[in-house]
């Protein structure tokens, strides 16, 4: 019990951050017309590609003698890039279609 309470207390800034971010996420989606659901889903998909930052961070700190870590790291950065680039380009293509003629 004490452990849990002190966890919350020690990490309170991150907790505020998390809670506020959740509210922002909810606000941002409110009132979106049905027709934009799919491009929005695609856009959100691209944004979670930010996980690549973690992969790059891991790679920059990897031990070059650790072949396994090197390989997995390379793969992780590659997959992250696919998420990011593919995500933004697909979203752009979907949104291209919304030009008023």
């Amino acid at each position: 019990m004490e452990q849990i309470l002190s966890f919350f207390s020690d990490n309170r800034e991150i907790l505020y951050f998390v809670i506020l971010s959740i509210f922002v996420g909810i606000e941002v989606i409110g009132g979106v017309p049905t027709v934009l659901h799919t491009p929005l889903m695609s856009g959100a998909n691209a944004i979670h590609g930010v996980v690549i930052v973690g992969a790059i961070h891991v790679m920059l700190n990897v031990d070059t003698n650790n072949i396994l870590a090197l390989t997995l790291g390379f793969l992780a950065v590659l997959l992250g890039t696919l998420n990011v680039v593919g995500g933004f380009v697909v979203t752009d293509r979907m949104l291209e279609m919304f030009k008023k003629k």
Partner: protein
């Protein structure tokens, strides 16, 4: 200095994500929003590489740039070249890539940990860190394998929902098992073999979770898996105290979850129904009414006359239009009718097709004006004044059983009220059932006639026939 600059980069990135996502909720600003997000992402990535504190190793930098270059080329080309109707599959695959990335990060961290302690069993980092690592591993893996299955289902490679007997029970047991395993890992530590095992179990769960769900519900599942990957990214951010991963991850996790719920509401199906329910299975289909009555068949010449002399025509597009790739010919039909003074509009049901906005995207491809696509709630009042409703490849979205038959699996779903129009024409290849697997009462309505044939072929004939008149 570098550290502060990097924090600024992450701050800028976070702001662009929030702003970009907000702008994507509005048709006028949507495209710009996406670009803003992309710019922010680029700044964050560049900052992560160039503002890294600590030495730069040639090999590592080479591999990083190599991976980014390769990923950019493959990602860009795939996204640019693929047909519009394949977009949902693509979103699913890219989502899976993100999930896999998160899972791999966790595996590498675990590998570091065990490498550093030279295989000392049972060593583990502080609980907070372990939870972040294990959560990232499990959630990332589930999202990865689930997304691949979703891709295969939308692709057509895996058509029927695969349902083991009592699959709900099995799935829930496996989920509890994975969570228990994860919990054990957090509290007792382990070794790489255990890590790989946990990884495999999570992958298995992702497959088991997605495989029983029907293709029509895939967009909802993809949206859910999308938010999972966001969550996995957030745990990564928690692990590294990396603000942009936290922001991006939580934003997508929460926005994605809400979007999933909103999509379910549009289908008038509860999320639990989508994930755990049977839709169009044998039991549900038996709940449909026993339909009595006959259907009428209409010839293209009669249809041409009917449409030519109408004042108001509403076209209801459905998945069949996409399958037949008839979006261009339907635009030609629209053109010819409008030339003759007929008002043409398209009625778009929220779940027509295989994803929200599917029909809009399809019709936009053939340059149908955005204003001609009317949402269900806006066009339903117009049906009583509509002379002809032409339904192309749509089925469940116009089935009156949704209003009249409580035993129907689609009961309660709002539909396009085409039965109020003066003439109803249904274009289908055959009398086969639509996605819900039930009979459509509409076809037996005295005002309804069937116009059989592949959409593209049938519409081409119709257009040709119209051209011969006048």
């Amino acid at each position: 200095m570098k550290h502060s600059l990097l924090e600024i980069c992450y701050l800028i990135g976070s702001v662009t994500f929030i702003l970009g996502l907000k702008m994507m909720g509005n048709a006028k600003t949507a495209r710009k929003g996406n670009i803003i997000g992309a710019v922010g992402m680029t700044i964050a990535i560049a900052g992560t590489i160039f503002l890294h504190e600590g030495g730069f190793n040639g090999l590592i930098l080479g591999m990083i740039f190599g991976a980014i270059a390769l990923g950019t080329v493959i990602g860009w080309m795939t996204a640019k070249k693929v047909q519009m109707t394949k977009m949902p599959e693509l979103v699913s695959i890219f989502n899976g890539m993100g999930g896999a990335c998160a899972a791999l990060i966790s595996l590498i961290e675990l590998n570091h940990m065990y490498h550093a302690t030279e295989g000392a069993e049972g060593f583990h980092a502080p609980y907070g860190m372990m939870i972040a690592i294990v959560a990232g591993l499990i959630i990332g893996s589930v999202s990865f394998s689930g997304s691949i299955i979703a891709f295969l289902k939308l692709n057509g490679t895996m058509n029927k929902p695969v349902r083991l007997p009592a699959y709900n029970v099995i799935n829930n047991l496996v989920m509890l098992g994975v969570l228990a395993f994860g919990g054990y890992f957090v509290y007792n530590g382990g070794n790489m073999m255990l890590a790989y095992t946990l990884f495999s179990c999570a992958i298995l769960y992702g497959i088991l979770f997605t495989v029983p769900i029907g293709g029509a519900d895939m967009p909802v599942v993809i949206s859910l898996l999308n938010s999972f990957t966001g969550l996995a990214a957030a745990f990564g951010g928690f692990l590294y105290d990396n603000k942009i991963m936290l922001t991006g991850g939580i934003l997508v996790g929460s926005a994605g979850t809400l979007l999933t719920l909103v999509m379910c509401k549009a289908m008038n199906r509860p999320l639990s129904g989508v994930l755990f329910g049977a839709f169009g299975s044998g039991a549900a289909a038996a709940g449909g009414p026993d339909v009595k009555g006959s259907i009428k068949d209409m010839q293209v010449s009669d249809l041409a006359v009917l449409m030519n002399y109408s004042k108001k025509v509403v076209i209801v597009p459905g998945y069949g239009l996409a399958v037949a790739q008839a979006q261009h010919i339907i635009k030609e039909l629209e053109n010819i009718l409008e030339e003759r003074g007929v008002e043409v509009k398209y009625a778009i049901h929220p779940v027509a097709g295989r994803m929200p906005g599917h029909m809009n995207v399809l019709l936009a491809e053939s340059n149908v004006a955005y204003e001609k696509l009317v949402e269900m709630d806006d066009i339903n009042p117009d049906f009583p004044q509509t002379d002809v409703v032409l339904i192309v490849g749509a089925n469940d979205v116009v089935n009156p059983a949704a209003k009249s038959d409580p035993s129907s699996p689609i009961y309660g779903m709002p539909i396009l009220e085409v039965d109020l129009a003066k003439n109803i024409i249904v274009n289908k290849r055959s009398m086969n059932a639509g996605y819900a697997g039930i009979d459509n009462l509409l076809f037996y309505d005295p005002k309804c006639s069937m116009f059989f044939g592949d959409a593209k072929k049938a519409l081409t004939e119709l257009v040709a026939e119209l051209k011969t008149m006048e």
